[in-house]
Point group: C2
Chain length 120, copies 2
Amino acid sequence: MARAATTSDAFNAIAEPQRREILALLRGGERPVTELARDLGMSQPQASKHLRVLREVGLVRVRGAGKQRLYGLDARGLRPVHEWVGGFEAFWNGTFDRLDAYVQDLKQDKAGESTDDDDR
Amino acid sequence: MARAATTSDAFNAIAEPQRREILALLRGGERPVTELARDLGMSQPQASKHLRVLREVGLVRVRGAGKQRLYGLDARGLRPVHEWVGGFEAFWNGTFDRLDAYVQDLKQDKAGESTDDDDR
DNA sequence: ACATCATATGCCTATATAGGCATGCATTGC
DNA sequence: GCAATGCATGCCTATATAGGCATATGATGT
C-alpha cells in the first residue's frame, strides 16, 4: 500500500512544507492563487493543486471574486492536530520526563544489565 | 517527484496514524517492539518499520535490554509541530477570526470590488 | 556450539504523490 | 461574440511508501 492520501487528514495535508507555507501566508488574509504561487515561488498549477488538497481537508476556503478565486484560511481543522500534539507537551517539558528516567537507566546499563521489567 | 520522505520531518512522520498510535502508547513508558505490535494489531515487521521512521526523526529512542529492545518516547521533536500549529490558534479561537472577517468581505464584495492591496 | 526468542531487513506489489507542461473552463471587458 | 485573464485539470514521470512474507541478525541460556 501507499501512504495515506494527503487529503485524508489535516495531519497528512500539513506534512507538505509548501502547504504549510500557504497556510501561513493565508493568515495575512485571503489571496488569489496567482499571488500565492508568486510569493512562494511555485507554479500556478502547483499552487492550485496544493490548495485543492487544503480545501479537501477543509483548511482553506474559496470564494469567487469576479475572475479571481480568493483563498482564505479556515484553521479549525488544525485544532485536532494541536490537541493531539499537545498531549505530548508534558514529555518535552521535563515535567514528566520519561526520557530522563530512561537516560538514567541507560547509564546504569553501562555497568550492569538490568531486565527493566518494571517499565513495561 | 514523490511525497517528501516520511523520515524528513516530524510532520511527515506523524502523518501516519499507526505511528501516532505508537507514540501515544509510548507515553505509558518504554515498550518492546513485539508488545507494541500486539497492542496495536499490526505485524512485528510493520511495527519495526514504523519505529525505524520514528527513530530516524528522533521521536523515539531505543535501548537494548537483553534480548529486547525497549523503545521510549522522545517527544522533543513534537515541539516544533506544536508551535507551528499553535501559530494558528488565534484563527480557530474566534479571537482573530479571519474567517468571519472575510465572510464580511464577502458580503461587501457583492456591492463594490476592492483592490485589497492593504491585505498583502 | 546450538536452539530459541526478539527484532531488523530484504524483496515484491499497489498506490499516489509532487512537479512540469499544456490545455480546458470560466469570467470579464471590449 | 471574441480576446484576455485567472485558475483548474489532465497527462506523464520518478519516487517511495505501507504492508505482507520470509529470512537475516542479535542476544540468551544451556
